[in-house]
């Protein structure tokens, strides 16, 4: 059984739950989704992977920061201590990892410009290609952030020449919303990393 923590601060949470379910069915993994709202939720669970959904990063910092539940500081600390821990961070989640604003170093090296494409009128469906595969996926970029620096070695997903996804160890950060597309490839990537880290149970 893989325990997948879903950080419930705000935003596109239900869509990630649905996507993880679809991915685990495809792969034949048994998955339990743990909703992470408070530091206790994090400390009391043994997780194999974590998902940081998209939404508004300013709101997430407020409700998960010092004035709120304080869960973000705990997540950042865990991720700094365990650099191999599997994480899927989408859109606002990627912003938090690139710029945690808790006084500590960034969790991923890539830097991100928030709302790098503009407003909602500029939101678009982009054809995302993966480095090592011929397949393409149509994915939603919604008031999306934009990588301002991403090393070639870490870039795993592109639209044209533009990097839109990076992977550093098992930290996967995407500027788009794979949870809103029909392909579950990025959620499968996360489960693959989670299974390699923990015990794998075939359904």
């Amino acid at each position: 059984m893989l325990e997948i923590g879903l950080v419930m601060l705000q935003g596109s949470r239900q869509a990630h739950i649905d996507a993880i379910r679809r991915a685990s069915e495809r792969m034949g993994f048994e998955v339990n989704i743990r909703e992470i709202r408070t530091p206790d939720d994090l400390l009391e669970s043994t997780l194999h992977a974590l998902i940081l959904p998209g939404g508004e990063s300013t709101t997430m910092r407020k409700v998960g920061g010092q004035g709120g539940t304080g869960v973000l500081e705990h997540i950042y600390r865990e991720l700094r201590e365990k650099p191999n821990f599997p994480v899927l961070a989408t859109c606002a989640g990627a912003i938090l990892l690139a710029d945690p604003q808790d006084g500590g170093p960034s969790i991923i090296k890539a830097t991100v410009d928030r709302n790098g494409w503009g407003r909602q009128i500029d939101s678009f469906l982009g054809t995302v290609s993966l480095n090592d595969q011929d397949e393409h996926f149509e994915c939603a970029f919604i008031r999306a952030p934009r990588f301002t620096s991403a090393s070639k070695e870490c870039t795993i997903a592109k639209v044209g020449d533009e990097p839109v996804g990076v992977r550093e160890n098992n930290l996967i950060a995407l500027t788009f919303h794979p949870e809103l597309s029909t392909s579950t490839i990025f959620h499968e990537m996360l489960l693959e990393a989670a299974a390699a880290n923990g015990d794998r149970v075939k359904a």
């Binding site: 869509a15 300013t58 409700v63 407003r119 469906l125 982009g126 044209g160 533009e162 809103l180």
Partner: protein, 326 residues
């Protein structure tokens, strides 16, 4: 850095519109009347701001025809705010909506808080590239708005009153009607009732007929769309778009009440900037909306605020905004 040619990309699709609404889930959308208030809202953790010239409580006391806000006022907020900015168009006023889209707002609220411009029809929202949120008091209204292209629904409540009773009424009615739809085996007759909302011309015309054409295409095509949305509701057991509560929410406990009734988030209009300490009230409502299931956290949030906005009894109102739109 290489670049994407935005002009060659697909914009304005349903997925992007509904996807935008999905990113609002669990959040608080706050009414603001200038850039300073927008900054307070953003700082307090609002997930978006609604830019308008007067909050509903002031619209209510001013009376007269309430219209779209001045473009300069909306631009001032767009220029200084990093979170999404929404603005209100009158019900059925397609040209106010076109102006708002051209200004660059992220979402349009086709709102009963303003005076309706069309006595028969709402805006054809599918003709726009940016998403719309619309109000509802019952399932039929919600289904009609989604069929017309709304990417998000908010229950109407009674804006500008600081009284949560109408918000609760509309949330309970929508929930009960969805339950009824799921249990009923008379799907077509429910669709018939929902379609009656498009027959308002009949009672106004001297010839007593139902027009074959609507702003949303032919009445037959519209019915197919209504059927499809109603099927979605029946299958999902909820509205197929993000659903917020609005109209009268003014305390952290009000927000928690609506979240526990299954709402995806809340709009707070007059409740924040008509309170004694707007910043604290805004932060407290954001925290309570997030931690709605934890009474200790809601208690902490409730202790943060000073005096909430003064409230109004629904029975004493001269204008019931919830009755606008159909």
């Amino acid at each position: 850095m290489a670049s994407i040619d935005l002009g060659s990309m697909k914009h304005g699709q349903e997925l992007l519109k509904r996807g935008f609404a999905t990113m609002q889930e669990g959040g608080v959308i706050m009414d603001v009347v200038n850039a300073e208030e927008a900054a307070i809202a953003e700082e307090s953790g609002a997930v978006a701001v609604m830019a308008l010239e007067r909050v509903p409580a002031d619209i209510r006391s001013a009376g007269g025809v309430a219209r779209m806000s001045h473009p300069d006022m909306i631009k001032g907020i767009l220029e200084t705010t990093t979170i999404p900015v929404m603005a209100k168009a009158r019900i059925g006023h397609e040209d106010e909506a076109r102006v708002l889209q051209s200004l660059g707002v992220d979402m349009i609220d086709e709102s009963e808080v303003l005076t309706p411009a069309d006595p028969f029809y709402h805006i054809n929202k599918k003709a726009f590239d940016i998403p719309f949120v619309c109000g509802c008091t019952n399932l039929g209204e919600a289904v009609r708005r989604i069929s017309e292209g709304a990417a998000m629904i908010r229950t109407k409540g009674e804006a500008g009153t600081g009284n949560v009773v109408s918000a609760v009424q509309h949330s309970r009615i929508v929930t009960a009607e969805i339950e009824h739809l799921r249990e009923s085996d008379n799907f077509e007759s429910i669709v018939d009732v929902i379609m009656e909302g498009y027959h308002r011309v009949k009672s106004a015309t001297s010839l007593g007929f139902i027009p074959k054409m609507t702003p949303f295409g032919s009445m037959d095509d519209l019915r197919r769309e209504v059927e499809s949305v109603t099927e979605d509701v029946k299958e999902l057991g909820r509205l197929p778009v993000v659903t917020f509560s609005a109209g009268g929410i003014s305390t952290p406990a009000d927000a928690a009440l609506m979240m526990r009734q299954g709402m995806d988030g809340v709009f707070v209009g007059s409740g924040i900037f008509k309170s004694s300490d707007p910043q604290r009230t805004a932060e407290a409502i954001v925290l309570a909306t997030h931690s709605y299931n934890d009474p200790e956290a809601v208690a902490e949030a409730s202790a943060m605020i000073g005096e909430p906005m003064p409230g109004l009894e629904i029975e004493t109102l001269a204008v019931r905004m919830e009755d606008r739109g159909w």
